[in-house]
Amino acid sequence: MNQNDLPEIDYARCDRCELCITSCPEDALMMTDQGPTFKLPHSCTYCLACENACPTAAIRAPLTVTWKSD
């Protein structure tokens, strides 16, 4: 897994409310001076809870859609 597989965090929009951190069921995020950061990136299941919790739309978790080939 690389950084592209994680939700994107826009630190300019982030107001450091920590709702993303408390909403993460895997406890994958932590607050740093810069803002929330994935302390355990491999624990992130891309469940979208952090994006749903963010009140300033600072977290963006894009989805790609394809047909499953057999």
Partner: protein
Amino acid sequence: MATNPNDIEKNKRLAALQPTTKKELALRSFTTQLTAGETLIVEGMPAEYGYFLLSGSVRVLRMNREGRVQVLARLGPGAPINFISLISKQKRNQSSVEAIQKSRFLVLSTSDFDDLRMHYPDFSACFLEIFADRMSRMTDLAAGLSLYTVRARLARFLMALADQSVQGDWTQDEIAAHIGTVRDVVGRLLREFEADGLIKRNRQQIFLLDREGLIRLSEDDS
């Protein structure tokens, strides 16, 4: 610096303008560039400029009554931005716009926009078409909202994404804005689709498994 005429020619609507109008537009406008996450305009601030998105993509945001930021739309190359705010009586930006990825814009000031509208009928007609198209899209959305369930609209949109008739990576918020619902409903329906065996999620990937089932669902008007 004036806009490069090539940038005007690449925009389908602007390319159809008369040569003299295009020349005047190129002289009066300029281009600017934003990187991902940078803000183009802020909701509520005086509307000073209108834009055409030349490349990249942006999201349109507005603060709701609870103070949460909501995505209203996602726009791609060619999209006109903020011209309704320039015409409106309040002359305030009606929403915020920020770049999703590196994006370039043609920029036109309010006074130049007004001058061009007044003195170049084809420019004015171009904007009538833009507003008519927007009205038509809103009518389609209203029809979709009244004729089809949100499940049907989401099924249609997922198939359009997979068939690449709609481009790009979309967030739940952006999908919700596009099909006329809210993020929580999109999230719940994706979970239901997965439980019903219609789709499978693997991190950011959504795989569509059952074409016939999705087509049946997309025609659901109950």
